[in-house]
């Protein structure tokens, strides 16, 4: 049952246990929630990085919780893809946390409603740390029922974070998100039941390795896939995403777009990267992904508000995450590289973009694209961050997005999937169009007539820039993440 190449490592539990503790403590000590929150964010980020480092050095690891080996107990498992996801969460999560420190402080300072903003910040830190723990738990778990429990934690905390701003549109969006997500969870759980009946184990690797398609197992896969697609907001299940992501508080938008959708997408990958399935229905996610790329870009181009534009851009980018599934059939592993490279670059770049957009919003009091001219004068660092992140989203060299799209097109051509290569080129052109609309407003040479006082803090501007720089850097240090991904 257990693979001799796996070594047991207690490092696997800490990226889950540390933020869980942080969530409890920030909830208990209301007056210190920012300091505690930042401390546990740094700790969780460090532990996630340490785990990735360990996996890179020593190969894949597992950890039997409670000392019970599967199938009786639950095991965590960290291979290359899992470690890369934990690492991605560590980097984006830390940047968002630093941003949040400044964000809530600035909002409090510039408002009469001190008690309200304190209450929001208090709730934010505990919900966000719990979400962080749940995401790490999701990436590392090797037990499908435990994955369901982690998914529930991810969903509920995301819904709470979405509703946190209290604006009517975000409450409506949060409710819609909750209903769609619960439907997805139930579908997933039903699939778990079918799998357990068929294989008598809940261990994911054991199930995937002995998978054979028969009516019950096909039904299980279909139910799990539909549940995960609902949660990942792949076209045509995307309808809840733009209002939820665009109307949330800014750090929440960055978390939802940068990290949360990657959780369900990653699980989809876990269930689907079996050759057996590609030959059967591998084209279905690819076709939906292609539709998402075009529809999302089109909608993004039509938006009047910057945060809505960025949210629709996420709809399009989710398409890229699914369009590559036929590429995974290739044995060279380049398809996996393309997929994961896209995921991590998108996480950093989209996070940076939302953070910068939220900084404009807080400074200007609105995010209407046509009235943003002159903002670069006030917020040069944030404007620069937005521009750099745009490079990755468009896929221009030397960004991480460029590496991902290069790998996509290369693999597609090697496999003779010309339509896929063309689709990706078309998608890049479309994303350039809507990104250019936003960037041309932000970087326009027009000057502000009145120069209002700066209300945003330096940490908000610089954390977004750091994240954007990392998304750019990913284009230069490509061998390192790809080496981590190879560990399996």
């Amino acid at each position: 049952m257990t693979n001799p190449a796996l070594h047991s490592s207690a490092w696997l539990i800490w990226p889950v246990a540390a933020p869980l503790t942080g969530a409890l403590l920030t909830f208990l000590f209301k007056d210190h929630s920012r300091r505690l929150g930042l401390f546990f964010a740094a700790l969780s980020s460090g532990l996630g990085t340490a785990l990735a480092w360990q996996i890179l050095g020593h190969g894949p690891a597992h950890y039997a919780l409670g000392g019970w080996q599967p199938p009786l107990g639950i095991a965590l498992r960290a291979d290359g893809p899992a470690a890369l996801m934990v690492m991605m969460t560590a980097i984006t999560g830390l940047a968002v946390s630093i941003y949040s420190g400044g964000y809530f402080q600035s909002r409090r300072r510039n408002s009469k409603h001190h008690a309200l903003h304190s209450a929001q910040e208090h709730a934010f830190w505990s919900l966000w740390l719990l979400l962080w723990a749940a995401l790490n738990g999701l990436f590392l778990s090797n037990d499908i029922f435990n994955i369901y429990v982690s998914l529930e934690l991810v969903t509920l905390s995301s819904v709470g974070l979405t509703a946190l701003s209290g604006k009517p549109p975000s409450l409506v969006a949060a409710m819609r998100y909750l209903l769609v997500s619960l439907l997805g969870s139930l579908s997933f759980l039903l699939g778990v039941g079918f799998f357990y009946k068929a294989y008598g184990t809940l261990a994911l690797t054991a199930i995937i390795n002995s998978l054979s398609l028969s009516p019950p197992t096909s039904m299980a896969l279909a139910l799990i896939s539909i549940g995960l697609l609902l949660k990942s907001a792949l076209f045509p299940f995307h309808f809840w995403l733009p209002p939820a992501h665009a109307n949330a508080l800014t750090p929440v938008s960055a978390i939802l777009s940068g990290l949360v959708i990657k959780g369900s997408w990653y699980l989809f990958y876990r269930f689907w990267h079996v050759e057996l399935i590609f030959t059967a229905v591998g084209l279905v996610p690819a076709i939906l992904g292609g539709a998402a790329i075009i529809w999302g870009a089109w909608q993004a181009f039509a938006q009047q508000r910057l945060k809505m534009l960025v949210a629709y851009s996420t709809v399009a980018q989710i398409g890229y995450l699914f369009v590559a599934f036929p590429l995974l059939a290739e044995t060279s592993g380049q398809g996996h590289g393309a997929l994961f490279y896209f995921a991590i670059s998108h996480s950093c770049a989209k996070g940076a973009m939302f953070l910068a957009a939220g900084t404009f919003f807080l400074q200007m009091g609105h995010d209407r694209i046509r009235d943003l001219a002159g903002v670069r004068q006030l917020l040069p660092v944030s404007s620069f961050a937005f521009g750099l992140a745009a490079l990755t989203i468009m896929g221009l060299p030397p960004s991480g997005g460029f590496i991902a799209k290069y790998l996509y097109i290369n693999t597609a051509i090697n496999q003779g999937l010309w339509w896929l290569a063309l689709l990706i080129l078309l998608g890049s052109g479309l994303s350039a169009a809507y990104i250019f609309r936003a960037v041309s407003a932000i970087l326009s040479p027009q000057l502000l007539r009145i120069r209002p006082a700066l209300v945003v803090s330096a940490s908000m501007q610089w954390s977004a820039l750091t994240l954007a720089l990392i998304s750019l850097l990913l284009g230069i240090i490509a061998p390192l993440p790809l080496a981590l991904l190879e560990v399996s």
Binding site: A10, L65, N146, L153, T217, M219
Partner: protein
């Protein structure tokens, strides 16, 4: 007599696509369930083989609090998260109509039932070690007792220590984490405990979890965080989101 059935008939007419979809889904599920495929024996034999090491004689409790205790740990956090999310929602400007004064029947019922419910919860907790029962069942009954107290706005509630609610809600998940990490400090795995000391660990885990679950459920019934006198929330009357970003 004429109105009811015709209303349902028109509703049925409008919703027939949904009904058709559900019938199709049910048929597909039933077909997949009954169709031939790999069928495994399940894990009952393995559970029985390890039962003596688990510290309890009930299979369900052994699975929930030893073999798969990590799931239960996360489930405790799910309930805690529910309270956190409800408390994070901003109080609306719409105020609920004032509850009429609770009658004599409710208060005498409460005096009669609440002590009994606490007793039953304690019994269920204890019974969990060798038969059906355990933290979630006991917690549900405690929660029910809490709801009764809330309905009557019992003076008992006012006597609770200040800030005690928050600590009480966190107690279950927090103790779970402490037990889990304490095992690691003794050179074992996360959440690893074996007979004979496992019995003590499981009973205390269940007791604290039941206490917190009961508090969480009653708190969820109350709807929002009880406001201390020192922290005036001015947001209740001003829709402050208008200035938000």
């Amino acid at each position: 007599m004429t109105k009811g059935p015709s209303k349902t008939a028109s509703a049925l007419k409008r919703q027939w696509p949904l009904a058709l979809l559900l019938v199709l889904l049910f048929t597909a599920l039933a077909w997949a369930y009954l169709a031939p495929g790999p069928a495994a024996v399940g894990l009952a034999a393995q559970v029985d083989a390890s039962l003596t090491a688990s510290g309890v004689s009930s299979r369900v409790t052994a699975v929930l609090l030893n073999f798969r205790a990590y799931d239960t740990l996360l489930e405790c956090f799910v309930i805690f998260l529910g309270v956190m999310v409800v408390w994070s929602l901003r109080p609306t400007t719409v105020t609920a109509p004032r509850q009429p004064q609770a009658g004599a029947i409710l208060s005498s019922l409460e005096r009669l039932l609440v002590p009994l419910m606490v007793l039953v919860a304690g019994y269920l907790l204890w019974a969990g070690s060798n038969q059906a029962g355990g933290a979630f069942q006991a917690g549900a009954i405690l929660g029910g007792a809490g709801v009764l107290l809330l309905l009557d706005s019992s003076p008992l509630l006012a006597r609770l220590p200040k800030g005690g609610l928050v600590w009480g809600i966190c107690l279950g998940p927090f103790y779970f984490l402490v037990v889990a990490v304490a095992a690691m400090l003794r050179g074992r795995h996360f959440l690893e405990y074996r007979a004979p000391e496992a019995t003590l660990a499981i009973v205390t885990l269940e007791a604290t979890a039941a206490f917190s679950i009961g508090l969480c459920l009653a708190t969820l019934f109350a709807g929002r965080q009880p406001q201390g006198k020192s922290r005036g929330e001015n947001s209740a009357h001003s829709p402050a989101w208008e200035e938000d970003s």
